[in-house]
Amino acid sequence: MTIKTIEAMLPGVIYLSSSPDAAPFKTAGDRVAAGETVALVEVMKSFLPVEADADGIFLGYSVENESNIEPGETVCQIEAV
């Protein structure tokens, strides 16, 4: 089994849920499909999805909700299956 790291492609502010009142996109132990949105990055007034690049089990976020993020920074980890 491989642990995959999902990184931010663009700088901005990271959001771990689709709206302030919603539950996080994923919690540890959830199944994740390749292409699924795991976070949003707000960059220049646009919200761009951060997508999983493999099927697997979600292990957890590495960033705080609404924190500033830089390209290449780890958003979360997935155990590929």
Partner: protein, 455 residues
């Protein structure tokens, strides 16, 4: 002149902050620039007399943080605040709070912002001032006969939708009476099924609408217009290319349009700079008021280029208590001006935002070329705010000459290494539809979806 502004706080950032500082300096007004943590090094902060930090990078915590901005105003000792555009510029409560601190809000008073900034109120004010609005059913339509009668009066095409439905859901465009006779019962049945209410709403459908707006200036008693701008080239309802004067208007239509904007502004004793936005229907050859912006607009330089009037200077003078410095007969439209918005977005990758460093910034110069920007070489475009890097504005004796100069200026303009929308405009400046002015508010999105831009 009594009450003239001595010290101005600029509650904005980027190119408009630089623009306001320049206008203030020419009037001998000292300047205080607010900055977020991300903007400490921006150009406006470097040219202002003083800088006050108002919070973390996110706009909600800095430029939109009313408490922090008011605290900065109090601490600065400034006697006036210019809100620019966006951020708090059309926030009536904020305008009131500035005034309550004993300071001047550079713009109309809070009551006017409330009245004209609200679409429903503004539409009512327009009707009262005899300014045309998009014709529609005044309330709901409950029977097919009433719909036919009204459509006959408005002229086809018309648009019908469920009165109870929001947004664009269930909209039907109907082109003649036969189609309407079939469509109304269908739409009523669908509305009943979807919303439990079969009431319909009908409005004139404006095909190939053009966006035309009129710049006005008022001192609370007198209102003048500075002609119109056309901003039909839009993507996702964001203007990208603006020009003055408008392409499609006859001389009679132009004077009617501008007079209607003056009438509406006069009816609310408007004070400051403002813009009346209209849709122009080329089929019905009619214009309809849609909304008012009670602030300076991004595209104001095209108006300055054709009239020679410094709009930000006028705003500062009026806010300081002065009367208008010119009469309507002294305002002339000379030549044709075009502005394109240079954004940090990659047109080859569906306009993906491209914040980051600006190492190269080569600005074209020459006669009748202007570049307004909040950045210089060595700056960084932060990811937290809008993507506007700068505005390239050119003027020509005719529209054709202006487009030719725009093409030349775009060849000289070089911004990098971040991606920008410059390649988009290089292509548009050679496009046949744009050259002959046959565009509408939907033109750019249609063209983009048909075309792959060369990298």
């Amino acid at each position: 002149m009594t009450g003239a502004i001595r010290k101005l706080l600029i509650a904005n950032r980027g190119e408009i902050a630089v623009r306001i500082i320049h206008a203030a300096k020419k009037l001998g007004i000292s300047t205080v620039q607010i900055v977020s943590e991300a903007d400490r090094e921006m150009l406006a902060a470097r040219i202002a007399d003083e800088v006050i930090e108002v919070g973390p990078p996110a706009a909600a915590k800095s430029y939109l943080n009313v408490g922090n901005v008011l605290e900065a105003l109090r601490r600065s000792g400034a006697d006036a605040l210019h809100p620019g555009y966006g951020f708090l510029s059309e926030n009536a409560e904020f305008a009131r709070a500035v005034t309550d601190l004993g300071c001047i809000f550079v713009g109309p008073d809070a009551e006017t912002i409330e009245r004209m900034g609200d679409k429903v109120n503004a539409r009512r004010a327009a009707i009262e001032a005899g300014v045309p609005v998009v014709p529609g059913s005044d309330g709901r339509l409950d029977d097919p006969q009433a719909a036919l009668k009204l459509a006959g009066e408005m002229g086809y095409p018309v648009m019908i939708k469920a009165a109870a439905g929001g947004g664009g859901r269930g909209i039907r465009v109907v082109r003649n009476a036969d189609e309407l006779a079939t469509a109304v019962p269908q739409a009523m049945a669908e509305a009943r099924a979807a919303f439990g209410d079969d009431g319909l709403y009908m409005e004139a459908y404006i095909e190939d609408a053009r966006h035309i707006e009129v710049q006005i200036l008022g001192d609370g008693e007198t209102v003048v217009h500075l002609f119109e701008r056309e901003c039909s080239l839009q993507r996702r309802r964001q203007k990208v290319w603006e020009e003055a004067p408008a392409v499609a208007l006859s001389a009679e239509m132009r004077s009617e349009l501008c007079a209607s904007a003056v009438r509406l502004a006069q009816s609310v004793n408007y004070r400051g700079a403002g813009t009346m936005e209209y849709l122009y229907d080329p089929l019905r050859k009619a214009f309809y008021f849609i909304e008012m912006n009670t602030r300076i607009q991004v595209e104001h330089p095209v108006t300055e280029m054709i009239t020679g009037i410094d709009l930000v200077r006028e705003m500062l003078l009026i806010a300081g208590g002065a009367k208008l410095s010119m009469a309507q007969e002294q305002i002339h439209c000379d030549g044709h001006a075009i502005e394109v918005r240079i954004n940090a977005e990659d047109p080859a990758r569906n306009f993906l935002p491209s914040p980051g460093p600006i190492d190269r910034l080569q600005i074209p110069n020459g006669e009748a070329v202007r570049f307004d920007t909040g950045f210089d070489a060595g700056s960084r475009v932060p990811p937290y705010y809008d993507s506007l890097i700068g505005k390239l504005i050119v003027k020509g004796g005719s529209r054709a000459e202006a487009i030719e100069r725009l093409g030349q200026a775009l060849e000289e303009l070089d911004v990098g290494p971040i991606a920008t929308t410059i390649p988009l405009y290089r292509t548009l400046a050679r496009n046949a539809d744009i050259l002959d002015g046959s565009v509408s508010t939907q033109w750019l999105e249609r063209w983009l979806s048909d075309k792959k831009l060369a990298p």
